[in-house]
Chain length 330, copies 2
């Protein structure tokens, strides 16, 4: 499972273009927003790519639809199986519904209430497991084998990574529309699928742009792996309010891409995340979930490098329970 | 003060085009957002014009900048004076700061904390008054006379109305970009400046589009005035959580426009407003203040007519205190 620097990468920029054709007219082209007050605070242009407005409230719909749409017609009735703490769940459920494919999603019992409810409302079968004692991979794999269903990974899959990369294509188009010269892009990182896809798309066209991954402080496995050159694990007992980013180690497919294309890895504390959520409420007027706010937190906390040109902040999702949101903005 | 159907209207569509030229590159071209889940719920296309992303968190910056930019250089040092519960205050303060004009704003003591703080943070002098015992008009007029400052009304001014009308121009441009055929536009209404400007812009180009005003149930003076044909007052003791829309009667300049151009007036209860704020949090992922949510509330409650084509909902502002927002989404 270790990767060699000379291995071919799992996807190319052409795969992202293929994904863009596949999701066109189905996924939302989410807005790239600019705020005078934020520019003033940072001292240079900042552009917010708001994936909260994506179908299912996060970027996950892009990769899920790109993956599910590749399943042959004859195999669709057997369905798909996925595991997820919630955003991939909703993305798969929404894509499956549009394509008429039955979906079963293995989710932790302590997933956010909104994510469980939305996944069920989208028509998916939710299979709960106990995070402490059970393996979601084993449950999902057994279920897929039993049904002959397609297992849909949350990040370590070429179609998933390419689908998430469409965020990067849109950023470049929209930055051109508003005459912004991009210096750097800050992207949240769990398994690394979004940042790998975005980096693939952007650095193919704009090789001088620095793409940074941003993780919760206790889950900085990608940041450490980028330094050591091999896939490092998250220590036992790590915790964070960023439920969408609690991945134990970088992906086998995503890490080689990120190792080659990223400028480096940043990390932020839960307090910095809450502060970013509050700033988004007060100034940006956007709802952001904890995991969706890490890139903004890196910028506002001063952990991201200063840039001469525009900094693009990917706000990846907005599926947050009302009580957690209320406590963050209080 | 009564208006005759044959009086010339205060503004024309050309005045809105003039305002658009004036604010170009200064005001934000706010996004027009579309959500598959909302379309599905309503059964036809819905487009959300999100003025929460405007400078100062509401549409008010548009009219304020268009008015202040017309003040002769020689008169700018004497400053401007306005009265407002908060959004016009912030719009005037932000425009004054950009143009280098001193601003004093007369605000009620019980205005939302965020609106008071933002107005001061923008460099304006805030003069507090007691809503029960003092007249904001008298305080502001005395202050303006004393200083030789320009009084900036919150709605009854041709440049203010024309500036707010730029929302309508953007709606038409953006609807064309997403190939939407607009049937109706729902717009919040306090003094009626925003809806008058939007109706002027839109019905000049698209005379078949129905533009509706939406008010809080207790403050439905425009709805009643549209029926009676004369400017009706809000009864003493009326109350609503929509602090931005507590205007005692339609404007002398705005009402003749609205009388001629609107399809009619709708109204919504505070509970319908809270429910719309919760829906915006859960599904749209947008922060909306109570007064900014009335048009969405009219749509979600079924009070707006069914439309074959697209319904445009103007979300006019998002300056809401955290505790009120938390209670609305709970």
């Amino acid at each position: 499972m270790t990767s060699c620097a000379n291995d071919p990468l799992a996807i190319s920029a052409d795969d992202v273009l293929g994904a863009a054709r596949m999701i066109r007219g189905v996924a939302v082209r989410t807005p790239l927003l600019e705020y005078a007050f934020l520019n003033e605070r940072i001292g240079s242009r900042v552009l917010i790519k708001f994936e909260g407005a994506q179908i299912s409230g996060s970027f996950k719909f892009r990769g899920a639809y790109n993956r599910l749409a590749r399943i042959a017609e004859a195999d669709r009735a057997k369905g798909v199986v996925a595991w997820s703490s919630g955003n991939h769940a909703q993305g798969v459920a929404a894509a499956a519904r549009i394509l008429g494919i039955p979906a079963a999603i293995v989710m932790p019992e302590d997933a956010p209430v909104m994510k469980l409810a939305n996944t069920r409302a989208l028509g998916a079968e939710v299979v709960l497991y106990d995070r402490a004692s059970q393996s979601r991979e084993e449950i999902a794999t057994a279920l897929a084998n039993e049904r002959g269903a397609v297992l849909v990974p949350s990040f370590d899959d070429p179609f998933i990574i390419a689908g998430q990369g469409t965020v990067g294509l849109e950023i470049m188009e929209q930055a051109e529309e508003c005459s912004a010269d991009i210096s750097q892009v800050l992207v949240c990182c769990g398994g690394g699928g979004l940042v790998a896809g975005v980096a693939t798309a952007i650095r193919d066209k704009l090789p001088d742009v620095a793409v940074w991954s941003v993780e919760p402080a206790d889950f900085d496995d990608t940041a450490r792996s980028l330094v050591s050159g091999r896939r490092e694990k998250v220590p036992v007992g790590a915790s964070s309010i960023c439920d969408a980013l609690l991945t134990p180690m970088p992906g086998a497919l995503t890490f080689p891409i990120n190792r080659q294309l990223l400028a480096g890895g940043l990390s932020v504390t839960d307090d910095e995340v809450r502060s970013a959520m509050r700033y988004a409420f007060e100034v940006l007027k956007l709802v952001i979930e904890p995991g969706g706010a890490v890139a903004l937190a890196a910028l506002l906390s001063g952990k991201a490098p200063k840039a001469d040109g525009a900094t693009v902040v990917v706000v990846s999702g907005a599926n947050v329970d009302a009580d957690l949101f209320a406590s963050a903005i209080a």
